[in-house]
Amino acid sequence: MAELLVIAAQRQGELRPSTLEAIAAANGIRQPGDTLAVAIVAADPQSLVGALSVDGVDEVIAVKATDDFQPDLTEAVILALAAARKPAVIAAAHGVDAWSFVPAAAVKLGCGLATDVQALRREDGELVATRAGYAEKVLVDLDFPGKSTVLLTIRTNVFEPAAGTGAPRVTEMAAPAADVATTHQGWKPPADAGGIDIPGSEFILSIGRGVGDESNVEQFLELAEEMGATLGCSRPIADNGWLPKARQVGQSGQLAASCRLYVAMGVSGSVQHQWGMKHVETIVAVNTDPEASIFSIARYGIVGDMFEIAEELKGHF
């Protein structure tokens, strides 16, 4: 009998959907007699209990905070719960918030740690976590000998989110004393999209680092218009200011939520980029590097020069 603990993520009072994926990941390694508790730290934690009342959740631990997110407070909650309950596994979604507190909590606990985990199982009773390495070219199976507690962050969009309707016990936990070093000052919303609608577009032509130079971008804007596509891009293009941030597809950009056809040119396909588009039904990758990871999620691949292909495509529309 062991306790599994999930640290929920919320932002501006809304539950992050990735929390339900972390719950599913923890549920997947549940053994008979195990219990699963979810801790939610929020200004109004009770308002999120409903969203967390899904299959497999035995208990929701509500911790009232005075601010939206404080890494030091979340860490203190983990340390307090670890001391009181000795959980075998503590899981959180591999999101930006968790990046701030999970490693710090792990060294304070001296526990096992694996981040960005994409598969989880038991082998002969031992917990084994799988993550990627060398820019997604290999997988690594990790175990945690001698560790009675293991902290995990779970890759998003891999585990089917926990669903159904559970009836968890709700307990309240007073916010533990914490030396909070950060003070929330406000939010900076994403820049005005100026009519660019990546989430609403069914057809996206996307360009990446392969475009090489700012002066090469214009021809792809023209091509996208001719084809009736929305032009998207990977992060380096937006970081360089060659295209507005509203066109960026990926974790820190937009989710191509309605897209059915995604043509990626000169995009290598980093995890962050894939986060925004790998669900698309038909992905076509055009890249000179046959080993680019974009080919492993594409339905069609063209190993070739994006400029030559773009030039030839023009004649067809």
Partner: protein, 261 residues
Amino acid sequence: MKILVAVKQVAFLDDEFEMRDDGRDVDADFFEKDLNEFDHFSVEEAMLIKEAAGDAAEVVIAIIGDEDADDALRTALAKGADRGIRVWDEALADADGVAVARVLAKVVEREKPDMVFTGAQSADFGSAVTGMALAGLLGWPHTAVVCNLDYAPGAGTATIRRELEGGLEEIMTIRCPAVLSIQLGINQPRYASLRGIKQAKQKPVDELSLDDLGLSAAEVVPAARVRRMYAPERGKAELITGSAAEQAARLAEIIKELRGM
């Protein structure tokens, strides 16, 4: 006033690669090594603070790695950093972010910097662990994925923005000294000048062992053990072959069919 920037030499794989005999890593012959992409941004951020302070700040680069890692260290020094520290011991061969953080914590105790920067993650393993584990060991204020920093040397607080999912950013003040992990795009990293590259070769680098830092091999064990490493079964895209004209024609056909054109 001193800023310590911890950098990493990352490894990428050749197109074809083979596993090591023990099946727990790739054979090192197939590595292509380079300074971690994120570290170009953290080094640049430190240089911008140094320059705004009229150079009254020292930028120290720390790296954990064998002699090979000297290249990445010199790349960082060539951008204008003052000096370097390289720590190595065979016991660090299997080090993960937690083990590296334990070494860096000793380096921080020795150097007593006013701020510590790391990259938000490494481009090879993407664990996003080292910087925030270091902060945990030091008990310092910390936050990850910083995409904007407003900090004047000696100030008791800094104002930062964290880059969140979907392009939203959170503005926070944080008590200093602090450990910050720096996100891509926070600045436009400079290229090293020829003069900088030449000077980097002459810059002082302390080469330290675990012993020099008062650490034993038993204190730098990773937080997980590699059971095995293997190439994933990858999805196979249906390849469109032929001349560029033929490939484009087929792509146009696919587009038109799916778009009902």
